[in-house]
């Protein structure tokens, strides 16, 4: 097989950029998962479902405002909030009572949520595909190094660092972030200095869900909004979180970049076997660094 035919510099660059823009969405969704995993210790399988709900809600809101050119932007603002609200209900209504349960039981519990959400989405939105137009200003593509590069991907590419910076600010510069870092390690002691840990947990859970919603809203214009979105993303983000180091937001970033890049470059190098590259990367990482690349809270 001619592995490297036409693997020119410009193609490689574009492919890396595309991989990074894909990594952005993975990062946003995975960071939510890793926050919940790190602070609340819930391996939340329902995270994928929340992402799916985010995408469907975005679709509905954007369609409702379809006369306005701002439809997508309104949706991008509102849909994650709705998802966050669902998260709040989940946390306050159910998870709150289960914090000292076994991880496996939590896993199972969140899995039952994926079943319920899966069918609820079907009940609410039906089983047809939905597709949302890319917002007007990002339609079409730029020409970069002679290759087309979709404007929307550029938008995603820019959004990645924004979210990373936002999360950095949140975890390192705000009281909530500092408390949640402390609570991840020693929940009891956080309570003993007068902080209502339950409220912190709720806040972190809601934040995590919000991020899942943002991820869902952001992919809505690029792909089919359909049932099954939850299944396809959940394993990917779990692997990302694992190779990055459980509970470590920067690990999620690193993992997402590794995942996005191995995927995009794999396609270029060996298109026939593109799908196995990310898995190979994960296996390699876990064999050499079983606890993930960065420090894990667990």
């Amino acid at each position: 097989m001619e592995l490297f035919t036409g693997l020119s510099f410009s193609v490689l660059c574009i492919q890396i950029l595309v991989g990074l823009s894909k990594a952005t969405i993975l990062f946003i969704v995975a960071s939510g998962l890793t926050l919940i995993l790190g602070v609340l210790r819930i391996p939340n399988l329902a995270h994928g479902s929340l992402y799916m709900i985010g995408a469907f809600t975005t679709y509905s809101i954007a369609t409702a405002f379809s006369q306005s050119s701002l439809g997508f932007w309104i949706a991008l603002l509102l849909a994650p909030l709705i998802v966050a609200l669902i998260g709040l209900i989940m946390e306050q209504g159910l998870f709150r009572f289960l914090y000292n349960r076994d991880h496996l039981m939590m896993l199972l519990f969140t899995f039952s949520f994926t079943l319920v959400f899966g069918d609820l989405v079907k009940l609410l939105w039906g089983s047809d595909y939905r597709s949302l137009a890319v917002p007007e200003i990002f339609q079409g593509s730029y020409s970069l190094l002679g290759m087309p590069f979709p404007r929307y991907n550029l938008f995603l590419l820019l959004l990645g660092p924004v979210f990373a910076a936002g999360l950095w600010f949140l975890t390192n510069r705000t009281i909530l972030g500092k408390i949640s870092r402390a609570a991840a390690v020693d929940r009891e002691m956080v309570g003993a200095v007068g902080i209502n840990v339950n409220r912190i947990y709720a806040a972190v859970f809601v934040l995590g869900c919000y991020l899942a919603g943002v991820g869902g809203a952001l992919v809505a214009p690029t792909q089919n909004i359909s049932q099954g979105m939850d299944h396809s993303i959940i394993i990917e983000i779990f692997l990302i979180v694992i190779i990055g180091g459980l509970g470590n937001v920067w690990g999620a970033l690193l993992g997402a970049v590794i995942f996005g890049l191995t995927d995009a470059i794999g396609i270029l190098v060996a298109p026939q076997f593109g799908i196995i590259f990310p898995y190979l990367a994960v296996i390699t990482v876990l064999i050499f660094r079983p606890k993930g690349l960065l420090k894990s809270i667990w």
Binding site: H103, F109, I235, L239, L246, L286
Partner: protein
Amino acid sequence: MISGVFGKKSLPLVVLFLVGLIFLPYAAPRFYIYLASVILVTGLLATSLNLVLGYGGLYQFHHAVFYGIGAYTTALMLTKTSLPTWVAFASAPVAAAFFGLLIGLICARLSSLHFGMLQISLGSLIWAIVYRWYDFTGGDDGIHGIPVPEAMSATTSSYYFILAITTLCLLLMFIIIKSPFGRILQALRDNPERCEAIGVNITRHRIIAMVIAALFAGAAGSLFVILEGSVFPELLSWTLSLEILIMCLLGGWFTFFGPMLGACLIISMRTFAGNYTEYWTLILGLMMMLTIFFLPKGVFGFINQLFSSKAPDLPLEESSHVAD
């Protein structure tokens, strides 16, 4: 010896139940015989998972891989070679056990969630290979119309064959659980550190446990071929792995017959609820939530606790050092 293993009280009940199952084909319509076969095969798979999950405390998240490997081995032997049929069936557990060893060697030194996730990635890799190797495995179409000998494939005869093998496997697993090895396995689940301190090689034991579990999963896989005459990549998918995990947890993962009960519950539910509503997964999800909320030890664990004066009411955190 066996009566000693089973305990005097429960042996008659097991025999009674077995007799009931033996006479089932005389009483039930054909579909229920088939359904019972499905439950037995799936229950065997779930029980084999529980060997490492409930008794060994390992987060075996991708157990279906071994099931699929068993099924594919039998299918490939039957379709691509002219070896005798029994070789095809005998090689399934062997092949599965081999993969169990392979995956065990790679995973065994990791713990809890990391163990499970590495297993999922390795399993997904095997799945991907099966899914796309058209010439060998038939790709995503799978292999259908596998020439299972007539004497085995008819509903009733396949039921008896499955019943016999399942009973044998369950008996073997029961003996293993009651054996010194099984004792050490449970000790590993309860307290790996103490196990090391009394001279147990943890890694080796975990690998052996995975091999044994894979062996029985492989046997279940070959039974699936007898039952359905088809194999397809979904037999190795992680969603199936999760399903059997649920069976274990729902039925009760610290009990021997829990997974079998879990399989029975879930399969019956999806068969009969599926007739009335498209949304049976919703019902299943709600049912599971309720179970977890109110019966953290699973249905069987709950029954056990209700009726058995000896069942310890240990605090739940006890089981959480499985995790770390």
